[in-house]
């Protein structure tokens, strides 16, 4: 897990301030209207303004807090984290939308599942592969046959759908 350190607070505060500025400036492109007939931009401008003010104050607070205190905390909370697992799971969730249509459902789900299982239990590639395959086929059968969901399908999906009964 990423630690609750002052450095990470600063990064989050900066990101929030950036988002707030982006939203606030973007909201000016919308029609504000009047108080009597409020336009679609009124609430975004108010929200954006408040967001810029609050995130700016938050950024100021975390950026200028006691340096000695932050030096003491820095790094201490980040030891022993399983970064590989986090990165692996995140990568799989990010890659999945891009491989779903080209690889079709079963192969894409198998790949994402296998990658995650392999990263979390690297010493058991065979059982991870078997588990990922059963997960992909099982999920396909349950969702497509039971719930009637239409997934990107190719030869493999059509074949399994037929033998599924």
């Amino acid at each position: 897990m990423i630690g609750n350190t002052p450095r990470n607070h600063k990064i989050i505060a900066l990101f929030l301030f950036g988002f707030a500025l982006f939203y606030f400036l973007g909201s000016f492109r919308l029609k504000m209207g009047t108080l009597k007939i409020p336009g679609p931009g009124l609430i975004p401008v108010v929200l954006g303004g408040l967001l810029v003010f609050c995130s700016g104050f938050y950024l100021y607070r975390v950026a200028f807090q006691n340096r000695r205190e932050s030096m003491g905390k820095e790094g201490s909370a980040e030891g022993g984290r399983n970064y590989r697992a986090i990165a692996g799971v995140l990568a799989c969730t990010l890659i999945y939308p891009f491989i779903l249509e080209p690889l079709k459902f079963i192969l894409a789900t198998f790949s994402a599942g296998f990658l995650m299982l392999f990263l979390l239990r690297p010493r058991r590639p065979f059982s991870s592969g078997l588990l990922a395959l059963s997960l992909a086929v099982g999920a396909f059968l349950i969702f497509s046959r039971l719930f009637g969901v239409a997934f990107p399908s190719g030869f493999l999906e059509n074949f399994i759908f037929r033998i599924g009964g």
Partner: protein, 497 residues
């Protein structure tokens, strides 16, 4: 009263249909499993299963969700008592005396008291829910946009005050959530807002990938980051399940106190089940003849909080059914499930879809009964789920989340949103931000905006007319008091010191 009796009888007739009984059973089992697993609480389970409800009708979906919520509340107490591991936040208090009881060989009695307490609380809160929701929905039919705006604002203010952590951080989360709620085509003016020309974004950011990402994926990321630890699971024998006469005598009044307290706290926005357990524990200790026993295995310390957290669930349904406003993240999930079926909760829902309302009420009762019948004999089976390695369970949950999100709209953008909000949720939680205000503001935000714009239109832009209405003014005063009272208390303490 006649209306309630008739409605409830009709509800039982619907809920006792085999299919709905199956959904109640499934919800209770799934809820218990997720409650047993540390980390994956009722929210995670609801987020993951939200897409599954598409294949059901709205009544079935509501019954399943009610079962999950109650089941998770009960499942969480099992691991608290047997392993000193709270399955979810509302079970933290149960660890204190429940685990001590287990160490003294009274685990079975603690589990039974927790189950019976949950059943009594569930029953009381369902009765309360029926009466209060009906009463409130009748009043709410007379509300205009100004009142709904005031309720929304007051709800968010109370949520910010009660969700714990920094006020500034919670306020920022509310603003971010409301900002996300503005994305899409503005349906009053037909203008695109923050869509960047993307047709899919025109419909707004879907609630499901955001909720699944923030609660499901973020939870998985938090869990995989921790080192795997093997659980030594204590066996509970059937004959040890029965509490002694003295234990019953001490726990039954605590169950009733916890039930009424929990229901009242459940009506308030915020993490009500968690607050209810703490308040119940403190009040039990304060009114006990033997306060020194608390922390050493006092049975009231299990009975009261366990009843309180279940009763709070019933209380949390009131604002959703009566006003159409979810005050807790779990209720936002329920709202999401209703909206997936084209239903908008609110005062009209109880009148127009009374069959659904009463079926859900009846099924809650059935679900509670199922929990007591199933969970006590099967306690060892549920606890053994903890033996499934996390490194297998977590990838399976991620795959279910991804397939679940895709199955709703067949949208690749939704999958990207899932990944994005999973990462954002993980980072925010890691640095101590509360994510519940974000998700609730995202759901309530559009309602607040619409109400405000309609109210301004009606009053001709006169803000005074919006504020100085009896209900609105009362709500604004109430919201202000949540800030003023702590300041006064602080000043008094300072003066004394």
């Amino acid at each position: 009263m006649l209306e309630i009796t008739q409605g409830l009888l009709g509800g039982f007739a619907t809920a006792l249909k085999p299919l709905y009984l199956y959904y109640a059973f499934l919800g209770a089992v799934l809820g218990t499993i997720t409650g047993v697993l540390p980390g994956l609480g009722p929210l995670g389970a609801m987020a993951i299963l939200l897409s599954f409800t598409l294949s059901m009708d709205a009544t079935g979906a509501m019954i399943l969700f009610a079962g999950i919520y109650y089941g998770a509340m009960y499942g969480g107490s099992t691991t608290s008592i047997l392993l000193n591991i709270p399955g979810e936040a509302a079970s933290v208090v149960t660890c204190i005396d429940g685990y001590k009881m287990a160490q003294k060989g009274r685990a079975g009695a603690a589990l039974t008291v927790a189950a019976v307490g949950s059943f009594i609380a569930g029953t009381i809160s369902i009765l309360g829910l029926m009466v209060v929701a009906l009463f409130l929905s009748d009043i709410a039919l007379r509300f205009g946009p100004a009142e709904f705006f005031a309720i929304g604002v007051c709800g968010l203010v109370l949520l910010m005050r009660l969700s714990g952590g920094s006020l500034l951080q919670s306020f920022i989360m509310i603003l971010v959530g409301m900002a996300l709620g503005t994305v899409g085509v503005d349906f009053l003016a037909g203008t695109e807002r923050f869509t960047f020309g993307n047709v899919e974004l025109g419909q707004g950011i879907d609630f499901l990938p955001v909720a699944m990402g923030i609660f499901g994926i973020a939870e998985v990321l938090t869990t995989v980051a921790e080192k795997e630890s093997l659980q030594t699971v204590q066996k509970v024998k059937m004959r040890d399940l029965l509490p002694t006469a003295k234990e019953w005598k001490r726990s039954i009044p605590a169950m009733f106190r916890g039930s009424f307290l929990g229901f009242a706290i459940g009506l308030v926005p915020g993490p009500s089940p968690v607050i209810a357990t703490f308040v119940s524990y403190i009040s039990e200790k304060r009114f006990s003849k033997n306060p020194e026993e608390f922390g050493e295995g006092a049975i009231e310390g299990v009975a009261g909080p366990e009843a309180a957290n279940n009763a709070a669930v019933g209380g949390a349904y009131v604002p959703l059914f009566a006003l159409g406003i979810p005050f807790t993240p779990a209720m936002a999930m329920v709202l999401g499930a209703l909206m997936l079926h084209g239903l908008t909760p609110g005062p009209n829902l109880i009148k127009e879809k009374s069959e659904l309302f009463w079926a859900v009420m009846a099924s809650m009762y059935i679900g509670n009964f199922m929990l007591i019948v199933l969970n006590l004999p099967l306690v060892n089976v549920f606890v053994s789920i903890l033996r499934v390695p996390k490194n297998i369970l977590m990838p399976v949950i991620v795959i279910i989340c991804m397939i679940g999100v895709y199955s709703v709209n067949s949208s690749l953008l939704d999958l990207l949103m899932l990944a994005l909000f999973g990462f954002i949720g993980y980072i925010l939680r890691a640095v101590g931000f509360q994510v519940a205000p974000l998700i609730l503001a995202m759901v309530i935000g559009p309602m607040i905006e619409t109400s405000l714009r309609q109210a301004l239109n009606i009053t001709g832009g006169n803000i005074g007319d919006m504020i100085f209405r009896p209900i609105c003014l009362t709500l604004y005063i109430l919201a202000s008091l949540t800030f003023v009272v702590p300041l006064i208390m602080k000043a008094i303490r300072k003066g004394k010191g």
